[in-house]
């Protein structure tokens, strides 16, 4: 299968933090160590890693929230580093993020509706009335009610908060959405609803998605291609069907073996 039309192209991406260690000496911490991967249009790419693997930092660099120490992130052929301020702002319309905990990703002192419409006001792509209508339509699409527009984030349950987070991410009609552990904080029964919703939305809106998670079963369910990060290095990447059934590296194998499934094998129990 030719992978020739990536929407996002990460090349030799590297992020080094200057830290002061316990011995008070300045040292470097390499959070992301020269990784490269492509995300094809319309597909979901899984970035797998446990805590400290550098996956969140990578996600932030792709979003432009963090400047890489070296290497590049290319969106639709344009290198992010070379974008002017104006272009960078335009870039942000096309790429959005759903946070792990939407509860903390919303300002507790402003209504959720005002926060959902805010990107539109910022980018001046819609009048206040249009923005409100668009937000209400999106709320409906993600399974919320119009009355929820004026409420505050703490009034909602975990699943509802994620729906609101998804609505806000989609308000500017982005082409690309980064999902950072979108269901980790949710109950099992709610996870299924959110995942199904994401798949439906991906099809309807032709979204390209980057899924950052440690949950291999989730990657198997959502992604065609994935990469495994360990201590900042991309140890393996490829089609999910191959990666998870026949891992080539010891690290991936260890991750696969650590997954606990409810199905009892003949050996266990």
């Amino acid at each position: 299968m030719s992978r020739s039309d990536p929407l996002i192209s990460v090349t030799d991406l590297r992020k080094v933090f200057a830290v002061r260690g316990e011995d008070r000496k300045r040292s470097e911490f390499v959070a992301v160590d020269t990784i490269s991967f492509d995300v094809e249009r319309g597909e979901t790419f899984g970035l797998i890693g446990e805590s400290g693997s550098g996956k969140t930092t990578t996600g932030r660099m792709v979003l432009g929230l963090e400047k890489p120490t070296s290497g590049s992130v290319t969106f639709d052929g344009n290198d992010l580093a070379g974008l002017s301020d104006l272009d960078m702002r335009r870039y942000r319309e096309h790429i959005q993020m759903v946070f792990q905990d939407s509860g903390s990703a919303f300002n507790p002192r402003r209504s959720v509706g005002s926060q959902i419409t805010y990107p539109l006001k910022l980018f001046r792509t819609a009048s206040p009335a249009e923005a409100r209508k668009k937000a209400l339509d999106l709320l409906d699409r993600v399974g919320m009610l119009p009355s929820h527009f004026d409420r505050y984030i703490h009034e909602f349950s975990g699943g509802q908060r994620q729906r609101l987070g998804i609505a806000r991410a989609l308000i500017t009609d982005p082409d690309f959405v980064v999902l950072d552990e979108p269901t980790a904080a949710l109950d099992v029964s709610v996870q299924a609803q959110i995942l199904n919703l994401l798949k439906d939305l991906q099809r309807e809106r032709k979204l390209t998605m980057l899924l950052i998670t440690h949950n291999l079963a989730l990657v198997e369910h959502m992604c065609e291609h994935a990469g495994v990060l360990d201590h900042g290095k991309l140890v393996e990447s490829g089609p999910v069907d191959q990666l998870l059934t026949n891992p080539a590296t010891a690290i991936t194998r260890k991750l696969v073996d650590a997954v606990l499934e409810p199905e009892l094998t003949a050996a266990a129990g």
């Binding site: 319309e93 993020m97 990703a105 507790p108 002192r109 402003r110 805010y118 910022l122």
Partner: protein, 315 residues
């Protein structure tokens, strides 16, 4: 989140889903959401101590404002004949002070000065400290750090000592006292605003706002400020309670209001002289009032803090 909080949280989330009991009536229309301040007021109302304190404070303030209506006497001219008359003397419910002035009257008129000195500097410094804290705390730039270090220098001096020194330099009198107190308050309030800003800046919603392109000014004023204001407000309220004591202390030491202007601190000072003679009411009564008002401010501050905690607000 430890297990107990989790358990109570579980109970709470359970409640949130089953809001109406099974079989109960289902309203056809969802009630309009209440504005946040009304929810806050309701949460505040649940704290009995805070409500009582608020009532007490309002009464004191109103009494001070309407002083002429509540007493026929003058606060500065007294009849020395009856000096040091005790509590319950005919015509003078709280007695007379060393110069024959009615204590109740001096409390009322003195309240004007004491309350003003306690509240006005805090009010005036509030926006200044907010700005300093926001700018220094958000950008974490060199300029901000330098500013905070300069303020730290002021921290090195005990609050009261600094106020005294400033008062001595500026001279006594109501305006100068307020100025002195205001200046000493700046580092305290700025630091609280700064800490609050730093804490809030690392939260996810700021990151989310950044992700859709909000520039730093927008982030500061639209996202951070509402959250920082609340924390500063709680601190400011309790600070008023402290300032009553500080202002009274300054007057007590003679660097506050100029006699014969009444204020609770000076009244306490006047009463100090006759304590050894066994006459207590002149010093104790204003002292008690200072205590009560200071306590009231503190309890109101607690109430505000709890009321503005978003998690406590249920509509």
């Amino acid at each position: 989140m430890n297990a107990v909080t989790g358990a109570v949280g579980a109970g709470r989330s359970l409640f949130k889903v089953r809001r109406y009991p099974a079989g109960g009536p289902m309203p056809t229309e969802v009630a309009a959401p209440k504005p946040q301040w009304r929810l806050a007021a309701r949460a505040f109302g649940k704290d009995r101590m805070a409500v009582v304190s608020l009532v007490v404070l309002l009464l004191v303030a109103l009494a001070a404002i309407f002083a002429p209506l509540l007493t026929p006497y003058s606060p500065i001219a007294g009849d020395p004949v009856d000096r040091l008359a005790g509590v319950g003397t005919e015509g003078h419910l709280l007695g007379l002070d060393g110069q024959g002035r009615d204590i109740w009257t001096r409390l009322l008129y003195g309240g004007r000065n004491s309350l003003t000195v306690a509240v006005v500097p805090v009010l005036v410094v509030f926006p200044l400290a907010l700005m300093i804290g926001l700018f220094a705390g958000f950008k974490r730039s060199r300029a901000g750090e330098v500013l905070m270090r300069v303020l730290d220098v002021l921290f090195a001096f005990p609050l009261v000592l600094l106020a005294i020194a400033l008062s001595a330099v500026l001279g006594a009198g109501l305006g100068n006292v307020m100025l002195a107190i205001g200046i000493t308050l700046i580092p305290y309030m700025a630091r609280v605003a700064y800490t609050a800003t730093v804490q809030e800046s690392s939260k996810d919603y700021v990151e989310a706002a950044r992700a859709y392109g909000a520039n730093p000014l927008l982030l500061m004023f639209r996202e951070l400020m509402p959250n920082v204001v609340v924390q500063l407000l709680v601190y400011a309220t309790t600070l008023c309670g402290l300032m009553i004591v500080v202002a009274s202390g300054l007057s007590f030491l003679g660097v506050g209001v100029i006699p014969p202007t009444p204020d609770w601190g000076i009244m306490t000072a006047d009463g100090k002289n006759v304590l050894l003679e066994g006459i207590y009411h002149v010093a104790t009564i204003p002292g008690l009032l200072i205590l009560v008002v200071s306590l009231a401010f503190n309890l109101i501050g607690d109430g505000i803090r709890d009321a503005l905690d978003p998690r406590k607000q249920t509509s």
